[in-house]
């Protein structure tokens, strides 16, 4: 690990302003992903701003009837919240499908959204990777791509976003609330929060320099059956090959988002409208323009079958 200076932030704006002013500064909260990457010297911040003392660890009801989740709410606490379990079951299901108990106790809501890909070529500093070292090429294209993306990828990067939580938040139409270094706040719809790689896979989110996530807002609950189905190589504690988050009403209408297939939680609103037509129609729309590789083409069939299973379960 490279040496770094460390400070405990005193307020959200103080943290944001300092992060913007100091070159190489990073926020640290749970640290479960950042420290892993710092040990490998994939992340090399010169200064860490510890935001753990800023509060932001409550889940409160909004005037609109939804929930506002503090950025520092731990994954365990979010999954266990009585209101989340009752009205946003897909979110609890996604959270408990991710990582291990130890990691969920530390990992935060904001950190989960900001976690980096687990692409093996990103993790291996001896390999080219446009995300880790822009312009160095992509080792994954033509390499071992079994875990990697089939849609939304580019010729520069085929990494997937590893989060389960974010997939559920995408199907719930969450918005990410932030504070900028000048103290102003804004809400970023989760659909626009994660960026597709294009020619700049190193730019992963809509966040500006120093901008700090302070909360995630969920709109008023819509009812329906909430399902998160994760398909992986082990029964527990493994990243998704494919995951499906769905909220489906009694009338068969609803929303569906996929994890494990794209650089961001993958949802296409036109595909939602096809839910009553069945998994083939939904899948065809979700994967229109897909660019699977030899090793990961199976994900398209696997996703279709998982969607079929989820639709069947919702019908009861």
């Amino acid at each position: 690990m490279r040496p770094f200076t460390y400070e405990r932030a005193t307020s959200a704006q103080d943290a944001a302003a300092k992060a913007a002013a100091m070159p190489g500064a990073r926020f640290i909260a749970g640290g479960t992903n950042l420290l892993d990457l710092m040990k490998l010297e994939i992340e090399t911040p010169g200064h860490l701003i510890d935001v753990n003392g800023l509060g932001m660890d409550q889940i409160v009801e909004t005037p609109e009837g939804g929930l506002r989740i503090g950025a520092l709410v731990r994954n365990t606490d979010l999954a266990a919240d009585r209101r989340v379990r009752k009205d946003y079951g897909v979110l609890t299901r996604a959270l408990v499908a991710g990582a291990s108990g130890q990691l969920r106790n530390k990992a935060t809501t904001a950190g989960n959204l900001l976690q980096r890909t687990r692409c093996p070529y990103f993790y291996d500093v001896n390999m080219p990777c446009n995300k880790r070292k822009p312009g160095s090429g992509c080792g994954a294209i033509g390499g071992f791509s079994r875990q990697l993306g089939v849609i939304g990828t580019s010729e520069a990067c085929i990494a997937t976003h590893p989060s389960d939580m974010a997939v559920a938040m995408r199907v719930l139409d969450a918005s990410v609330e932030t504070m900028r270094p000048d103290g102003t706040t804004r809400a970023i719809p989760i659909a626009e929060f994660h960026k597709l790689p294009g020619q700049t896979p190193q730019t992963e989110t809509a966040l500006e320099k120093g901008e700090l996530i302070i909360s995630v807002a969920l709109p008023k609950p819509t009812g329906g059956t909430h399902i998160y189905r994760k398909v992986r190589d082990r029964a527990s504690y493994a990243f998704a090959l494919v995951s499906v988050a769905a909220v489906i009403g009694r009338d068969g209408k609803g929303a569906v988002a996929l994890g494990g297939v794209a650089p961001k939680p993958w949802r296409v609103e036109e595909a939602d409208a096809l839910l009553s037509k069945g998994a083939q129609a939904v899948s065809d729309r979700l994967f229109a323009d897909a660019t699977p590789r030899e090793d990961n083409a199976f994900k398209i069939m696997l996703a279709k079958r998982t969607i079929a299973s989820v639709i069947a379960e919702a019908k009861g």
């Binding site: 040496p3 079951g89 408990v96």
Partner: protein
């Protein structure tokens, strides 16, 4: 980060030799040399925490993980370093009542926290019930993962009692049951290369007072 035993760490040696080189290079302008040596020294920060009930104050290289602090600075070597990347669970300790991977957290992030390691759960003469159950059921072979397994197991039973749902909880609207299925799922972050899993599950079931 530092050597496992002895009062002089590898870093101390490197720091000393770096200062020595600077002094040699500057031919007697001692104050400048010392300033250079200080500037190149890795940043440190102070932290106070309670470890197994005992208050400790440390000034550490900011890079020091909680795991390395326990093992190298406090000589509590019961907590083990397996993968050092949060994948194996050998470093599991209980912080403020919750189990975490001590390898994936910096010591300086734990100002004011209460840390319990395997040494704090029980002693040779007075084992924690989970330690006694692991012995009784042969919940290990080589024993390397065992401190992490036991810290995790103790916390898992508390998590189920607290009503925290898991991936195998059928009805997330209700409290999870104290079942071996729940325990096995929740223990997936603790890897045992010897494969003592079924015996660990039996030990946990005994402590929980349920059928394995």
């Amino acid at each position: 980060m530092t050597q496992g035993c002895g009062a002089i760490s590898r870093r101390d040696v490197l720091k000393t030799s770096a200062a020595g080189a600077a002094i040699a290079g500057s031919l007697g302008t001692g104050s400048v040399a010392l300033a250079q040596a200080d500037a190149s020294a890795p940043p440190t920060a102070a932290v106070r925490m309670k470890v197994n009930g005992k208050q400790t104050s440390l000034t550490l290289d900011t890079r020091t993980t909680l795991l390395d602090t326990l093992r190298e600075h406090l000589k509590l070597t019961g907590t083990k370093k397996g993968c050092d990347h949060g994948q194996c669970g050998a470093c599991t300790v209980i912080v403020n009542g919750r189990r975490i991977n001590s390898c994936l957290t910096l010591a300086v992030m734990h100002e004011g926290d209460e840390v319990t390691t395997i040494e704090g759960l029980g002693t040779v003469g007075d084992l924690h019930p989970m330690q006694a159950a692991f012995v009784e059921h042969d919940g290990y072979q080589c024993g390397y993962c065992t401190p992490g397994q036991i810290c995790s197991a103790v916390a898992v039973l508390e998590e189920i009692r607290a009503g925290i749902p898991s991936h195998v909880t059928e009805d997330i609207g209700a409290a999870p049951g104290m079942t071996t299925l729940e325990m096995r799922e929740r223990m997936s972050g603790n890897i045992c290369r010897c494969g003592a899993y079924s015996n660990i599950a039996e030990a946990m079931a005994q402590v929980a007072g349920v059928e394995a």
